[in-house]
């Protein structure tokens, strides 16, 4: 077993915190691991990435060869695309769709989403909305960890132990927010996958999952929602909804 991850985002989004959680979970699970990161000049609001590898055998290179990346895990959609060319043919993109716009030439969001949903294996989550629902916009990175968790090789407890350790110093409240961010992120990711597995195209799955109130998401409801959203008019009604929907009530919202 060998798993190679590229963690991505913008400087300040907490990429190294994601690395801390997965590194330590990997160590505790008895895996070998290596994790290369970027410090210094490039951190200041620029593109940041980290190569994280774990395996049940010793790992040679700190850098992952092109084509050997199993997952791009990104807290920012444009940054996910930056490393997508290194994915293996079976590789996953687990990414936020919440843009971090600090450059003048950020591409139109619809183009970014079209590029992302063109990949065969994606888990896309509106980490901004989910983190806000969990209690703090800064917890987007832990939302991303939660979304990725089902594709990794750890129990929730193994990961959450280090989420708690990471934020312990900042007090109980922040710890609780980040634990919630992880759980909401995991549910949102599984729900999105469930929609796709039930036959909904990725772009539509993103539309539906983005309308859900993160606190109410139950992945096992995905098939119901997929069935509902396969009808064009119903999908349009869901997309046009102003507020968030309660995932537990799979029903087309009333117009307006």
């Amino acid at each position: 077993m060998e798993k190679n991850l590229v963690l991505a985002g913008v400087g300040g989004q907490g990429i190294l915190s994601i690395a801390f959680v997965i590194d330590n979970a990997a160590l505790e699970a008895g895996f070998h691991f290596k994790q290369a990161e970027v410090h210094g000049m490039s951190q200041r609001g620029g593109a940041v990435q980290s190569n994280l590898r774990y395996a049940d055998h010793p790992i040679h290179s700190d850098l992952i060869p092109v084509g050997k990346v199993d997952m791009v895990l990104s807290v920012e959609p444009l940054e996910a695309l930056r490393y997508a060319g290194s994915l293996s043919p079976e590789g996953w993109i687990v990414s936020s769709v919440t843009p971090y716009v600090n450059i003048p030439d950020y591409p139109p969001m619809e183009e970014v989403l079209a590029s992302l949903t063109a990949f065969p294996h994606t888990v896309l989550v509106d980490t901004g909305a989910v983190a806000k629902a969990a209690g703090n916009l800064r917890a987007q990175n832990m939302v991303a960890v939660g979304a990725a968790a089902p594709l990794l090789d750890f129990t929730d407890e193994q990961l959450l132990k280090y989420v708690r350790k990471l934020f312990a110093r900042k007090g109980e409240k922040i710890v609780a927010v980040n634990e919630r961010a992880y759980r909401f992120g995991k549910a949102a990711g599984l729900f999105y996958r469930g929609l796709i597995e039930a036959g909904l195209p990725a772009r539509d799955a993103l539309t539906v999952s983005s309308r859900m109130d993160p606190a109410t998401v139950e992945p096992e409801r995905a098939a119901d929602w997929a069935r509902l959203a396969s009808d064009a008019a119903a999908l349009e009604a869901i997309a046009g909804q102003d507020g968030l929907l309660d995932c537990r009530e799979a029903a087309v919202p009333a117009a307006g």
Partner: protein, 527 residues
């Protein structure tokens, strides 16, 4: 044995502590900073290790040499270009030799992730005639540091540990000893002639250093870090971390003969054995073609084709990675995701929102408009990012302190206005002497010191000269108090600040403007 998750840098720091370290010295510089900071953290808890940042690498090295003179074990850390600053102390410390162990951990930056060049420190080790270790992984960072300490004390010479960015800033589990070594007692060197490099003594010392060379070479030949495995007639020499890139691409039952090098001088005996066994050798090394040139020699190695960075199999410049090495080994690319991607907008680093430098640059740019936007000399730090759009406020970045020296030279040549922009810590590091020169010659330069109260770029370390101390230094150098101005770089002071710039730009003599406001990142971190 304990297992700890450590950056390569941190493993060096912990190795030094476990080898009986009494003092760590250094100046912050990516990718070396975390070595010092890791030891500093331990020192704060224990209280028996000296750990204070020095004003620059030369001072750091000299302080380390003093601790070695006193018989204790010391580590001095810096980035590759920092060794240029420390070079005088470094070269001569090889001549004096050491008493307590002195290990220099220097971090090179192949690919220039955060540096102005990618010079290869192994040349410095060869130049100074001292041993050099180059770790391949985090475990070796830890082990080699301890070995380097022992070797330094045994041979009486400083020992270099050469890191590259990719090992410095990569994390893995490291097995550490349960039985750290005790510190040395205070036992100052009594050998006055060894330390007093008058020509008559220096000749003796230099001869003594040359006489140590066979022992230094023998240690490399028999080093457990230099491993030769003979298989087929195609050979590879892989230095330090690049051995991982080679192995990443090979099956267990490959037929290459491989020499892995982790300790220098280049083990020529092992190279000879490899050369006698193979028809060709591919030399893989991060940095300059140091080993490649040594192996090929000026006229080639008879009977063996030597390949590497000089012959195009590997790129001449930049950081290596498993993909470049795979190509050089002639192996096919693995399949990868085939999806058409648009060309992506870049996301370069920027000054943080609310950064004081932005306000300083806006005021300076406006004041300079009436001069038809002259070139502004600048220096190394966060403020170098002011070179990029939208500010485009500065037009040079060469070495620590160069902004002042270059502005003085340009002013000598008749250039007006000659403006220098430098940070508080960079000024303390290497700007003071430049300003002294400007004062002594009454040179018309405007020196702008961006005092944000920290070494921001490397992670908000303590600045060596900020606030009143900085003011006293500037005035003490002889700047006319009338042309020593302090501004508050905030948007609401913009008009005032533009006026101050305009007045000092018009002055036909040296003037200093201090733009004083703390780094917002520092305020955040130390809250």
């Amino acid at each position: 044995m304990a297992r700890e998750v450590l950056l390569g840098d941190e493993a060096v720091g912990l190795g030094a502590v476990h080898a009986g370290l009494s003092g760590v010295y250094g100046y912050p510089g990516t990718p070396s900073t975390e070595i010092f900071e890791f030891v500093e953290g331990i020192a704060k808890r224990r209280g028996d290790i000296q750990a204070t940042w020095s004003p620059n690498e030369k001072v750091a090295y000299e302080e380390a040499l003093g601790m070695s003179w006193a018989g204790k074990r010391t580590l001095v850390t810096m980035k590759h270009v920092g060794l240029n600053v420390a070079a005088d102390a470094f070269m001569n410390s090889a001549i004096t030799g050491t008493n307590g162990a002195l290990v220099l951990a220097v971090a090179d930056d192949p690919g220039m992730h955060s540096s102005q060049n990618e010079q290869d420190s192994r040349y410095f080790a060869k130049f100074a005639l001292i041993p050099c270790f180059e770790p391949r992984n985090q475990q070796e960072c830890y082990d080699m540091t301890r070995d380097a300490m022992d070797l330094s004390e045994e041979l009486g010479v400083p020992v270099m540990l050469r890191l590259v960015t990719r090992i410095a800033h990569s994390r893995a589990a490291v097995e550490t000893t349960d039985a750290p070594r005790e510190q040395n007692p205070l036992r100052p060197s009594k050998d006055i002639r060894k330390w007093t490099l008058l020509p008559s003594n220096a000749r003796v010392q230099y001869r003594s250093l040359t006489e140590k060379q066979p022992a230094i070479a023998d240690r490399a030949e028999s080093s457990p870090y230099n491993v030769l495995e003979l298989r087929g007639r195609r050979g590879v020499i892989a230095c330090g971390i690049t051995m991982n890139y080679v192995l990443e691409n090979l099956p267990e039952d490959h037929d290459l003969s491989i020499l892995a090098i982790g300790q220098y001088p280049v083990p020529l005996g092992l190279v000879r054995k490899l050369a006698d066994h193979v028809d060709e050798i591919l030399v893989v090394e991060d940095g300059y073609p140091f080993v490649e040139e040594a192996v090929r020699g000026p006229f080639g190695l008879p009977g063996v084709t030597v390949k590497g960075r000089m012959t195009g199999e590997l790129p001449r410049t930049g950081e290596l990675n498993p993909d470049l090495v795979r190509k050089a080994l002639g192996l096919p690319d693995p399949p990868h995701a085939e999806v058409e991607l648009p060309s992506l907008a870049g996301r370069p680093p920027t000054l943080c929102p609310g950064c004081p430098h932005t306000d300083t640059y806006r005021a300076m740019n406006e004041a300079l408009e009436k001069y038809d936007r002259p070139q502004v000399f600048s220096d190394i730090g966060c403020y170098t990012l002011g070179a990029l759009p939208p500010l485009e406020a500065i037009h040079s970045c060469v070495d620590m302190g160069a902004s002042i020296g270059m502005a003085v030279g340009a002013a000598h040549a008749g250039y007006r206005p000659a403006v220098s922009v430098i940070g508080d810590s960079t000024f303390a590091h290497s700007g003071i002497t430049g300003l002294l020169s400007a004062v002594n010659g009454n040179v018309p330069v405007t020196v702008v010191i961006l005092d944000n109260d920290t070494v921001a770029m490397t992670g908000t370390q303590e600045s060596q000269a900020t606030a009143e101390r900085l003011d006293r230094i500037v005035l003490g150098l002889g700047i006319d108090p009338e042309h020593f101005r302090i501004i508050n770089p905030v948007p609401k002071e913009h008009e005032t600040n533009v006026r101050v710039f305009a007045e000092e730009l018009a002055h036909e003599g040296p003037s200093v403007i201090v733009a004083r406001r703390p780094c917002i990142e520092k305020i955040k971190r130390h809250k």
